[in-house]
């Protein structure tokens, strides 16, 4: 393209973007279409990719295609394979995009659509995409080393071990919160539970097919897997209507929690090919397919945003989560804006498959933009819903009660008019008994998606199908994550236990494996159970704990990137990583400290624990607890949450201290001190 043409193209993109933002910011009431939200986001992504990522690639990182990547150096046709950049982009995206970008934005929608949108877009450009890109670069230049190993190399052994403890803690919390989302979505929903349960035999059949009947034929197995899944959604309606089958699949929250805990322990002990791998393929295809379908659906239907720009809950009094816009919006929307977990993926399999250094811009930076786009669509789907329905689905039972009449009255008193009939009708439309207090994002998103997709395809009668399809799609990759995460957690625990008592670290030793699996499942199972029985909602507490941990991991990854740039003697560019690091540290430390010490029991763990233990000591039972024992449990759990939060805060402060010390030392050196694989000399041998 000619230079002039290119200039006009980018001016055009900028104008469309500015116009979309104007429509969002200036529009009033029901006139604003979700199309503007999505278009504004796309323009921001294109501009950020074209200009900012180019600057980072060329100036800051100075990508060099003459340096062989790990995939080229160690090409073995299996683990290290130079891979087409579009294919690797798909692979990387499928690995980073999970339930996170779907949940956070839906919860944050209680503050209106604008705060969430602005943070997702600013966060991804300044922090999220930069982190993913630079960590990928660091790993490729270090032979595909993992985040923990790189921290050990560049910051020292102790910070490396500290970071691993942090990663394990965050893993435990995320597994608990993801399981909790599944519990909230499936409680008292026979059709939903049947379709999710059906994925187990379907995955087993696929596993046997791909391992024994037709080795490696992923495509064939996936096609019949998807067909069976769709059949199970349709058949699920008959199950829910059947007098004999429906009670079998109607479980309470605690029953589901136990079922998931047992499932996690069993699934993580099976051979990977039998269930984990086939289910992972299914969920990858559904993920990519559904994301594309939703984007097309939004453009075809052009649904108006029903949620206001901002609601009065920016003051921190919201029913979905407590705490004011600063800092809690930035904790609630983690994935989609910036996610520390991605630093583990960007230093996992992706760096072993990068063909050329210049591809990393597209894969690292571009991959994160795609995840952010998923978050924007999730936010749109939540804001398309009637706000009354949104709050009915997301506020805890302690606030809105357990009947549609009660819920409608409370929610209408907040200024979001809704009738009990509307609540009842929505439940009927999606084929459920009740929609009240299904917190956690997944069900809300599923209703939003169902309304959009049904308008685009199939009409009102298809809404129940699309709702259960959306639940299936989310539950599928949450359960995959629970399975895979439990395995990884087990390895990490064994690694640590091996330092204490050597036989426990032996992954070939069955009792040691069982012990570590039980420890891992027990840890996340404890938090899950606590969340399910927590009368205040569970998601309320756990999601924020996860958010704090995840953003702190992002802060740690960016601290590593900063130290690496300084050690490469590129200190004039460190603002690229320092700006997002400082912002993440400010928001997460503020949020962390508030979660621990805030005097409002709705926010501070210790305040709530004190309130309940003081009342228990006097023998009074505070609602929503029902007995003194329950009161004491609430108090204990909140002290425990405060401890976890304190660990995160101390960890990030320690990492900060180490990074500053390392950077000061590196600044005094005249030559680069980063531990990179050296470039090839002209003769073709490493220097």
């Amino acid at each position: 393209m000619s230079k002039l043409g290119s200039t006009f193209l980018w001016i055009g993109v900028a104008v469309v973007g500015a116009f979309s933002f104007a429509a969002l910011a200036l529009g009033r009431g029901e006139n604003v279409s979700a199309v503007w939200l999505v278009t504004a986001a796309l323009c921001v992504y294109f501009i950020a990719y074209r200009f900012y990522s180019k600057y980072i690639a060329e100036r800051v990182l100075q990508l060099d295609d003459t340096r062989p990547t790990p995939a080229v150096r160690h090409n073995d046709g299996m683990d290290y394979v130079p891979t087409n950049k579009w294919v690797l982009y798909g692979h990387h995206f499928a690995a980073i995009a999970g339930a996170g970008p779907l949940v956070g934005p839906v919860l944050a929608a209680q503050m209106g659509y604008l705060p969430g949108t602005l943070w997702i877009l600013a966060g991804v450009v300044v922090a999220g995409a930069v982190q993913d890109f630079i960590v990928l670069f660091a790993s490729v230049r270090r032979d595909g080393k993992s985040l923990g190993e790189m921290i050990k190399m560049e910051l020292g052994a102790l910070p490396g071990s500290l970071a691993l403890v942090g990663v394990l803690a965050i893993m435990i919390i995320i597994l608990a919160v993801l399981s909790l989302i599944v519990v909230k979505a499936l409680t008292g929903s026979p059709r939903g539970l049947f379709t999710i349960a059906a994925t187990i035999p379907i995955a087993l059949a696929m596993g046997v097919y791909m391992r024994i009947l037709r080795p490696g034929r992923v495509g064939e197995a996936s096609v019949f897997g998807v067909v069976l899944l769709l059949a199970s959604i349709i058949f699920g309606r008959d199950v829910a209507a059947s007098a004999t089958l429906a009670p079998l699949f109607t479980l309470t929250g605690t029953q589901l929690a136990w079922a998931l805990i047992v499932y996690g322990a069993v699934a993580a002990s099976l051979p990977v090919w039998l269930m984990l791998a086939p289910r992972d393929y299914l969920s990858t295809f559904l993920k990519i397919g559904t994301v594309c379908a939703l984007a097309i659906g939004i453009y075809i239907v052009a649904p108006p945003l029903a949620m206001p720009q901002t609601t009065r809950f920016i003051d921190g009094s919201g029913p979905v989560f407590s705490g004011s816009l600063f800092p809690f919006l930035f904790i609630t929307i983690a994935c989609g804006a910036v996610s520390g977990f991605h630093s583990l993926i960007s230093s996992g399999t992706t760096p072993k498959m990068v063909e050329r250094e210049s591809h990393m811009r597209f894969i690292g930076f571009g991959g994160m933009l795609a995840e952010s786009f998923v978050a924007i669509m999730a936010l749109s789907a939540a804001c398309v819903l009637d706000p009354g329905i949104y709050f009915a689905m997301n506020a805890p039972a302690a606030v809105i009660g357990t009947t549609p009449a009660n819920a409608a009255q409370v929610i209408s008193s907040w200024g979001f008019t809704i009738t009990p009939e509307m609540i009842g009708q929505t439940a009927v439309d999606i084929g459920e008994n009740s929609i009240l207090s299904r917190a956690g994002g997944a069900p809300t998103l599923a209703v939003g998606m169902a309304q959009i997709l049904a308008k685009a395809l199939g009409g009102k009668s298809m809404e129940a199908f699309w709702y259960h399809f959306a639940i299936l799609f989310e539950a599928l990759f949450i359960l995959t994550a629970v399975d895979a995460g439990t395995r990884v957690g087990r390895f990490m625990i064994q690694d640590m236990l091996g330092h204490v008592y050597r036989p426990l670290g032996n992954t070939e030793f069955l009792p040691a494996n069982v012990f570590a699996t039980v420890l891992c499942v027990g840890a996340w199972g404890y938090f899950l159970y606590q969340g399910v029985v927590d009368p205040l909602g569970g998601i309320n507490t756990l999601w924020q704990l996860f958010g704090v941990g995840n953003q702190m991991l992002a802060g740690i990854a960016l601290l590593l990137c900063t130290a690496m740039l300084v050690k490469m003697k590129r200190e004039r560019y460190i603002w690229v990583t320092v700006v997002p690091t400082v912002w993440l540290l400010i928001t997460t430390l503020t949020a962390g400290v508030q979660k621990i010490f805030h005097s409002d029991p709705a926010i501070g763990f210790i305040a709530l624990a004190r309130k309940f233990s003081a009342a228990a000591a006097q023998g009074t039972v505070l609602a929503p607890a029902k007995s003194i024992a329950e009161m004491q449990r609430v108090a204990f759990n909140n002290y425990l949450d405060a401890v976890v939060c304190t660990v995160f805060v101390l960890l990030v402060l320690a990492m900060c201290w180490y990074t500053i010390a390392i950077c000061r030392r590196a600044l005094r050196q005249a030559a680069p001190t980063a531990h990179e694989i050296p470039p090839l000399t002209p003769q073709g041998a490493p220097a």
Binding site: N75, D76, G77, M78, D79, V81, T83, N84, W86, V87, L88, G90, H91, A94, A95, I96, A97, G98, A99, G100, S146, L147, V167, I174, M210, R211, P215, G216, V218, G219, V272, W273, L276, A277, D280, Y281, T284, F285, I288, A334, C335, S339, F341, H342, L344, I345, S347, G348, T349, M353, T480, A481, A484, G485, R487, V488, G489, F491, F546, N550
Partner: protein, 85 residues
């Protein structure tokens, strides 16, 4: 070199000859799609492994299709780091 490796080398040789109405073209295209598809879900390509093996380690024993996929799946889930939220 086993039969499968021989077939791949033969296919690759044909693949380098560009001809207009090539009946193999559809097959090649299908294979490219399948390879991409599999790699997106993290399954390496067996034909590519055979080609790599034939080019760099001729004469050494080669994994069968079944062994190759068994190893690939075990590696993917036992070594890689945690997955995302």
């Amino acid at each position: 070199m086993n039969d499968e490796a021989a077939r791949v080398t033969r296919d690759n040789a044909q693949g380098s000859e560009e001809s207009g109405a090539d009946p193999n073209r559809a097959r090649r295209w299908l294979r490219t799609v399948r390879q991409g598809w599999n790699q997106v879900v993290g399954i390496p390509d067996y034909e590519r492994y055979l080609a790599h093996h034939a080019a760099h380690h001729p004469g050494e024993p080669v994994l069968s299709r079944r062994q190759f996929f068994e190893r690939a799946i075990d590696h993917k889930y036992c070594r890689s780091g945690p997955r995302c939220c």
